[in-house]
């Protein structure tokens, strides 16, 4: 259980706007890397397989395959080093934790259905009107 005063204490260190993505999305995580006095942004591309924790401890797991080897990175969503999270592809998944992807090999691993976003006619008209 989290004490309400702890949440108050964490508040100033949280991001006011969180990047929007959901489990199963293929994302580009722009993370700031400081080397000595130089600073650069590195992009980590992969699938979001889990999101856990609360408050400042909230974090998400991104999994990708590098040289046929699975690589997972955990990011603190409120970290200033996580500059940006861009959704490249939306995934269609039915559970909150995609740990089963770790045991998939080859094509099974790749098969993550894309969600074809069909807007209804009314929605199309609405977005056209606001544009």
């Amino acid at each position: 259980m989290r004490h309400p005063l702890i949440e108050i204490a964490e508040q100033p260190f949280l991001k006011s706007v969180l990047p929007e993505f959901s489990i199963g999305d293929t994302v580009d995580v722009h993370c700031r890397i400081v080397e000595g006095d130089k600073e650069r942004v590195q992009i980590f591309n992969g699938v979001v397989i889990a999101r856990q924790g609360a408050g400042i401890n909230e974090r998400f797991f991104v999994r990708r395959i590098v040289a046929n080897e699975g690589v997972e990175r955990t990011f603190l969503i409120h970290s200033p080093n996580v500059v940006e999270v861009n959704v490249r592809r939306r995934g269609k998944v039915r559970r909150a934790k995609l740990f089963y992807l770790r045991y998939r090999v080859g094509k099974a691993r790749k098969v993550r259905e894309l969600r074809v976003q069909k807007k209804s006619k009314a929605q199309r008209e609405l977005s056209a009107a606001s544009a």
């Binding site: 004490h3 005063l5 702890i6 108050i8 204490a9 964490e10 260190f13 700031r32 400081v34 408050g55 400042i56 401890n57 603190l76 409120h78 970290s79 200033p80 080093n81």
Partner: protein, 217 residues
């Protein structure tokens, strides 16, 4: 200024600094403390203030304590503590101390005193950091034992086991002071202090926080 404040440990979390580094912090609710009594050199032989912290219902208190608190115009307190001062106090009875008095001390050092978590009857490995015995090489049924406690034959050879010999026994639930803890932030609005790292005692335990006389470096 009174360099001490009574406080309650809320719990631990971490904060993320601008360059992305995570710092472990303990969140502490400091004060408000009421000055119950001011002692001075002429009357008491030394300068000090007595602080009261945390309200208690009058029917759970005693008449002497209620009467003592009423002199400062307040109700009985759960914790009282005297703070010795080098100079005469610049406060009077009834004044309320809050975390604001630490506001100018951010990034400075504080000493934190609390009552450690009780560990019950603990063996020597946990209590004194003994090494224990080998897991194998013939050791049987005494992997966590202390080993020899020295020759202690009665009579001229020895006088029993040496006093202070470290053995198993009750551990924790004792007063403990951790010195030179960094004060990272003061939230005057909610009366919170953020201290770097851990402090003694359980969440909800009472702490005494004072400005450290240790030099930062």
């Amino acid at each position: 200024m009174i360099p001490t404040l009574l406080a309650t440990k809320i719990g631990m979390t971490h904060i993320l600094l601008k360059h992305g580094r995570a710092e472990p912090v303990t969140v502490v609710k400091g004060g408000p403390c009421v000055v119950l009594q001011v002692k001075n050199k002429e009357r008491d032989g030394y300068d000090a203030v007595q602080l009261g912290y945390g309200d208690v219902k009058p029917h759970r208190s005693t008449k002497p304590l209620i009467g003592h608190a009423s002199k400062a115009g307040t109700g009985p307190k759960r914790v009282t503590r005297e703070v010795r001062l080098a100079e005469p106090a610049d406060v009077s009875a009834g004044d309320v101390l809050t975390v604001e008095q630490f506001a100018s001390k951010v990034n400075g050092l504080v000493d934190v005193t609390g009552i450690t978590k009780g560990k019950g009857f603990a063996g020597v490995m946990k209590r004194h950091g003994f090494g224990g015995k080998s897991a194998s090489h013939g050791t049987e049924r005494k992997h966590r034992s202390a080993g020899s406690i020295g020759g202690h034959a009665p009579g001229a050879l020895g006088r029993g086991v040496k006093k202070g010999k470290r053995m198993a026994g009750h551990m924790g639930d004792v007063r403990c002071t951790v010195r030179a803890i960094e004060l990272l932030k003061v939230d005057t609005e909610h009366g919170l202090l953020l201290l770097r790292g851990s402090v003694p005692g359980p969440a909800g335990g009472t702490l005494w926080i004072r400005i450290s006389n240790k030099v930062q470096g």
